[in-house]
């Protein structure tokens, strides 16, 4: 997994410390701490993981192990409109892969990456709990159900005039 190099601002480090502190700096809360950190930063670059490791007093290798184990976590910055495609069983059976391929084709980026203009990124999720609507796609907080390959264009159109 590649990572983006950046220097954390003092305020970022402070924020991470607060997050860790809200979980009593307990090693057992690693997943929750990472969850909150990703919510705040949008992604988990190496530097963030180093601070988390330091705060919870665990090896950074362990943190990285957890980050790479769960597909929910990402080390790459997400686009302003992060597209998540559910590839859980129900969605998969009903064509999620074709939908995913269509997003990749149109946006010309692989899973886990962001378009050059920083607008869209593509990730895959496991079952998001809306199997009745399979296949499910989320753009930011907005959920789209029963998405077809033809529907992909229409979804992207909605964001055409956004920055």
């Amino acid at each position: 997994m590649t990572s983006v190099k950046l220097k954390l601002k003092d305020s970022d480090v402070q924020k991470l410390k607060e997050i860790a502190h809200s979980f009593n700096n307990e090693a057992g809360e690693l997943i929750n701490v990472l969850h909150k950190s990703q919510e705040h930063f949008g992604y988990l670059p190496a530097e963030v993981q180093e601070v988390v490791a330091e705060e919870l007093n665990i090896p950074v290798a362990k943190v990285y192990g957890v980050v790479t184990f769960y597909s929910f976590f990402t080390m790459l910055p997400r686009g302003r409109y992060p597209i998540s495609i559910c590839t859980g069983t129900a969605c998969y059976v009903r064509g999620a892969e074709k939908v995913l391929d269509e997003f990749k084709r149109i946006l010309k980026v692989p899973v886990g990456e962001t378009t050059a203009d920083g607008k869209f990124s593509i990730t895959c999720l496991r079952c998001v709990g809306a199997c009745g609507l399979a296949p499910v796609v989320m753009v930011g907080d907005k959920t789209y159900g029963r998405v077809t390959t033809d529907g992909v264009k229409d979804i992207l159109k909605e964001y055409e005039n956004e920055e």
Partner: protein, 590 residues
């Protein structure tokens, strides 16, 4: 204690509640094959991730086969360890593991010592019916260890050693499923991690996924170059283990045969690291006495306790994890490096050699020493004091490839002057030995009296952390000993918190000290071998006429002719060092 009765292969056995099927079968002398499982009894490490499923057995009444290493016995259980179903399942499991493994056994560094290869032979694998994708990773070449993750079978033993035993925490399982592998954070190279190169992961890796950097080819080239004078030094722990590679009983001392073999291999001078260990005691002992006297006289500036510094794995550990305590350890270099510095100055002058014409090689039980040779501060004008270090295992391979009949060799003696040593130097090879050697000398120098008994049994043993108080004629000296970095961490945390009562602490990175080093013959989980080696070391000490470092005549001569006295300016230049804060260096490198 509740007892449970069960039947294994039609024999009854009674075991304590909580015992696994694997250990119950062991009581009946049935060894169920295992691959990921590792039980290092004397170190209190039982690693049973239950991942490989090689150990499956049939349990009556259960639909699925059960992994023997991770399944507890229950009352009345009926177990079959070698039914047709079990044997077929085991072979299938192994075939699946091998299907994602390179087929280059013939040229593999681990060939002949590989647990996976042994298992394939044992289970009679003849073909791999599963042809699938194979994982490929970029190999990682550090100064001491090579990681070739194409050969990793995800047993995760290395993780247990690095995280639980050493508490270094460099290695972690990452990703999942087919992509799962063990790696340092962000898949950086080991060289960009906090790795201490202790080699304990190498010592337990069943395959060639983790191996030491091999210097034997370079050595063969140097030995056949007439323009070079090749000098060798052998660490104390090597002589207590080398014989194992030639089928000798663990604990057989092979000092004389080892010297003979080295001579036959063509070394110009066969010397002993033990000579330098005596020298270490002179320097470290003097430093200890100096600090102690100042401390006892109420000097608040002086740092206590003094920590030994002869283990490069341990040195890296505190450079990464305790940069705030860099002025606490002794500044004395390791015996390997003292030897190199003296060989390329004092001895070179005697022989009228330029250091560039010399190759100084060390034979070490250690992987970290390979890295230590490359530290910049141990070189003059880019020419290293010790050119490279080869492990006990590499030496054995070299002797075999040179067609030397090791067991039939006559005993020979080390060359002079750097081959002379005392019993105090020999015990450097086992946990507690360095501090015992230092105590023998410090006691006599401090009190001016001769010791009635040189053996300090209280300092010996195998417990991870030990302590003892030695009375220096009215002054109680508190001594601490730790082997394994996890144990060291506990003592260090106390020092950091200002809660430590010790005057001196010995720390060795490896289990049992250097006898359990990462470069030793593989113990394959049998830690009683380490104890046998330790015994051999104490036997060699006992057999020596001289057992105190300050009585070594060639050390006395070295000071007379060259160094002046311990702690002199020249001694400082050649035999002492300083440490670096590696924590800040390490963070955020790419």
């Amino acid at each position: 204690m509740e007892l449970i009765k069960l039947t294994i292969d039609n024999r009854t056995v009674e075991v304590e509640k909580g015992t696994t099927i694997f250990l119950a079968a062991k009581q009946l002398d049935i060894t169920i094959p295992t691959l990921c499982y590792m039980n290092l009894k004397d170190l209190n490490i039982e690693h049973k991730p239950g991942g490989c499923r090689i150990c499956v057995v049939e349990v009556e009444g259960r639909r699925n086969l059960a992994p023997a290493c991770a399944t507890e016995c229950s009352e009345g259980m009926v177990v079959k360890t070698h039914s047709v179903r079990v044997l077929n399942a085991r072979r299938t499991v192994l075939e699946l593991i091998i299907s994602d493994h390179p087929f280059d056994c013939l040229v593999c560094a681990k060939s002949g010592m590989c647990d996976l290869q042994d298992m394939a032979i044992k289970l009679g694998v003849r073909d791999i019916p599963f042809k699938g994708e194979k994982s490929t990773y970029k190999p990682d070449f550090s100064p001491a260890i090579i990681r070739d993750m194409d050969k990793c079978i995800m047993c995760r033993r290395c993780e247990t050693m690095c995280n639980d035993f050493q508490t270094v925490g460099v290695l972690s399982g990452i990703h999942r499923g087919f992509e799962a592998v063990v790696a340092p954070a962000f898949e950086r190279d080991l060289d960009h991690s906090e790795c201490t190169y202790c080699g304990q992961c190498v010592a337990v890796c069943p395959t060639a996924a983790l191996t030491e950097v091999d210097h034997t080819l370079q050595l063969i080239n140097d030995l056949s170059d007439p323009a070079k004078t090749v000098v060798v030094q052998t660490a104390p722990a090597v002589r207590a283990a080398l014989g194992e590679e030639f089928g000798m009983e663990p604990g057989t001392l092979v000092t004389g045969k080892m010297v003979a073999a080295l001579r036959q291999l063509g070394f110009n001078f066969v010397f002993d690291t033990d000579f330098a260990a005596d020298l270490t005691i002179m320097e470290e002992g003097t430093e200890l006495l100096d600090r102690l006297t100042r401390h006892l006289n109420g000097d608040k500036e002086v740092k206590m306790p003094i920590l030994t510094s002869c283990c490069p794995g341990w040195v890296s550990f505190f450079e990464y994890h305790y940069p705030d305590l860099l002025d606490v350890p002794s500044t004395a270099r390791s015996p390997q490096q003292m030897f190199g510095a003296i060989a390329k100055t004092y001895f070179a002058e005697k022989q009228q050699l330029n250091r560039k014409e010399m190759i100084v090689v060390s034979i070490m039980p250690c992987v970290a020493k390979k890295y230590e040779c490359t530290r910049e501060e141990f070189a003059t004008d880019g020419n290293p004091d010790v050119d490279y270090s080869i492990s006990t295992r590499e030496l054995a391979k070299l002797i075999k490839s040179a067609n030397i009949d090791f067991k039939a060799l006559p005993d020979e003696d080390f060359d002079k002057p750097m081959g002379e040593s005392t019993g105090a130097a020999v015990i450097f090879g086992t946990t507690g030995g360095v501090i015992e050697a230092a105590t023998r000398t410090a006691y006599e120098l401090h009190t001016g009296e001769e010791l009635e008994k040189v053996d300090f049994e209280a300092l010996r043993g195998f417990e991870g952390i030990r302590s003892a108080t030695v009375n220096f004629k009215g002054v109680d000296i508190n001594i601490g000993i730790a082997h394994g970095l996890g144990n060291a961490r506990k003592l260090l945390d106390d020092v950091r918190a200002g809660k430590s009562d010790y005057h001196a602490i010995e720390i060795m990175a490896c289990p049992g000290g250097c006898i359990g080093g990462g470069g030793q013959p593989l113990h394959h989980g049998d830690t009683s071998i380490l104890k046998a080696r330790s015994k051999a070391i104490y036997a060699e000490d006992e057999g020596k006429t001289l057992r105190k470092s300050h009585l070594n005549p060639d050390i006395i001569k070295l000071y007379d002719e060259y160094l002046g006295k311990p702690g002199s300016e020249l001694a400082h230049k050649l035999l002492h060092t300083h440490y670096f804060d590696k924590k800040t260096r390490q963070i955020s490198v790419d």
